[in-house]
């Protein structure tokens, strides 16, 4: 029965990690609602997550919209269904590609940076120093990042939606020969509030996931530079996987049975 032992170890490790992560998340969320609030830290994180992620998210969105228009044209042309391109672009971008790609890009940019920063603070005793200065590290380091992540991701995704649709519009109008006014009218007609809102809710959840993973892996890192490196990798990998998992769960919640 020795072969069961490693399986048991893996399962127990997984459950222990899930438990620790859940307790960490709960502690972080509780601190978001308890004064004192560190306004400066929240604003700083909002700028870091929102403003400085705009270029990478914008570039991702515009090329995604452009590729989407081009790909759907080559596919739909076989069925003489080119008119549906505007529909496909707006639905795909607002429901799925906007929030998911923005989430993944922010996980790579912000989640990694958070894990590295907090991890370095951990191994250089800066987090211990916070405790000795009567400052709760969860309140000072984690809560502002969670608040900023949940607040800024929907704004980022809203901008990504607009830029993504613009990308599709540019390709359709200037490369595929669509009438620009008609394309915009079709986009407007096909777009539904539910599509955009579901995408923004996903964005808020993804913002929470990215910042939580960055904070958790940084906060629990051990063992110097190697530990910080591992924390950074783990933060990006786990955030990316969770984004894809929760994307399915949220899609099921919003659109199943429709």
């Amino acid at each position: 029965m020795n072969f069961l032992q490693p399986i048991g170890h893996v399962v127990l490790d997984f459950l222990a990690t899930a438990g620790r992560l859940t307790l960490f998340a709960l502690a972080g969320v509780v601190q978001c609602f308890r004064p004192p609030f560190y306004g400066r830290m929240i604003v700083r994180q909002m700028v870091e997550i929102g403003y400085f992620s705009l270029p990478v998210v914008g570039l991702t969105a515009i090329f995604t919209g452009m590729v989407l228009a081009l790909q759907s044209y080559t596919g739909f042309a076989r069925f003489s269904a080119e008119a549906a391109i505007a529909n496909v672009v707006v639905v795909a971008v607002t429901r799925e590609l906007g929030p998911v790609l923005a989430g993944l890009m922010v996980a790579g940019r912000v989640g990694a940076a958070m894990a590295a920063e907090i991890g370095t603070m951990r191994v250089t005793e800066q987090i211990d120093a916070l405790t000795t200065l009567s400052t709760n590290p969860m309140k000072y380091l984690v809560a502002p990042r969670l608040i900023a992540g949940v607040a800024m991701m929907p704004i980022l995704v809203l901008i990504a939606d607009i830029i993504g649709v613009l990308g599709g519009f540019l390709v359709a109008s200037y490369k595929l020969g669509f009438n620009p006014a008609n394309y915009l009218q079709s986009t407007w007609d096909f777009m539904e509030a539910e599509d955009v809102v579901s995408g923004l809710v996903k964005a808020a959840v993804f913002g929470f996931i990215v910042t939580l993973m960055g904070c958790y892996h940084g906060y629990t890192s051990r063992g110097g530079a190697q530990g910080v490196g591992a924390a950074t990798t783990n933060a990006v990998v786990t955030a990316s996987i969770l984004i894809l998992c929760f994307d399915y769960i949220l899609t099921e919640m919003f659109f199943a049975g429709k």
Partner: protein, 263 residues
């Protein structure tokens, strides 16, 4: 310290039966230690004997497995978060690696505790920071710099200014002279003596630098094998009659303390 130890008017910190293990490795195995009001106690001991663990248990950074830690008669071991924050307001701590916050300028590092607890405005916080920097021999222009722009000795001084910014009742010093040249180490020792006297604080330090221990201590205690094996005034450390202390003070490889060295 040239001044005599203050009269033992009751223990500021009282530690009894303190135990801490990491897995199977027992680090603290029943520590009993008192630090009197206004006293400067230095705990000496080899690397890896649990000196830092001892201080971290008192600070609440590590949770002891068993035993009691009383601060001003209040039990601190296992206290809730609000109680811990209240007790830690009495503390100032100088970390071995200074542990300055990279993302903040020097003056915000020094005034951090005051600003974070919303005790002062930012303008007042800066004034306090500059006054504390002056106490450790640094000019106000240093306040605008980033910690990464400072030398190791200056970082130690800034960390010292941060430790005393809120006028603590008890200051902890974790290896205050490690990594400094002998002259800068002596400067830091002088500052520690001067500042603890000015603030009137109780001090608990850990070090393996005997020159530092002799200079800043009213009393020295030796930690070995998870227990305090000797305690006495600095003047008695050279003739303690304790084989562990003798070996440590004279830095001999041969003796009852066996270092884990692989050939």
């Amino acid at each position: 310290m040239s001044t005599p130890a203050p009269a033992a008017a009751g223990a500021k910190i009282r530690i009894r039966g303190l135990k801490k293990a990491f897995g199977r490795k027992v680090v603290l195995d029943g520590i009993d230690l008192d630090v009197g009001v206004g006293e400067s106690l230095v705990v000496i001991g080899g690397s890896g004997t649990g000196k830092s663990v001892l201080i971290k248990c008192v600070l609440g950074i590590l949770q002891p497995d068993a035993g009691s830690i009383q601060v001003d008669g209040e039990e601190a071991a296992g206290i809730d978060a609000a109680g811990r924050e209240r007790i830690n307001r009495k503390f100032g701590m100088l970390f071995q690696g200074s542990a300055l916050f990279d993302s903040l300028p020097v003056w915000e590092n020094v005034a951090f505790g005051l600003l974070a607890q919303k005790k002062v405005t930012r303008v007042r916080g800066r004034e306090v920071a500059e006054a504390k920097l002056a106490q450790v021999g640094l000019g106000p222009e240093v306040g605008q710099l980033s910690p990464s722009e400072l030398s190791g000795g200056m970082q130690k001084r800034v960390a010292l200014a941060r430790a005393i910014a809120a006028d603590p009742e008890i200051i902890f010093f974790d290896e205050p002279t490690t990594g400094l040249d002998p002259i800068m180490a002596d400067v830091i020792n002088d500052l520690i003596v001067k500042i603890t006297r000015e603030v009137g604080a109780t001090a608990l330090s850990i070090t393996h630098d005997m020159a530092s221990a002799r200079k800043i201590a009213h009393r020295i205690a030796m930690l070995h094998g998870g227990r305090i094996v000797w305690s006495g005034p600095p003047a008695a450390v050279d003739a303690s009659g304790n084989p562990f202390v003798d070996q440590f003070v004279h830095g001999r490889a041969e003796g009852p303390i066996k270092m884990a060295v692989r050939a």
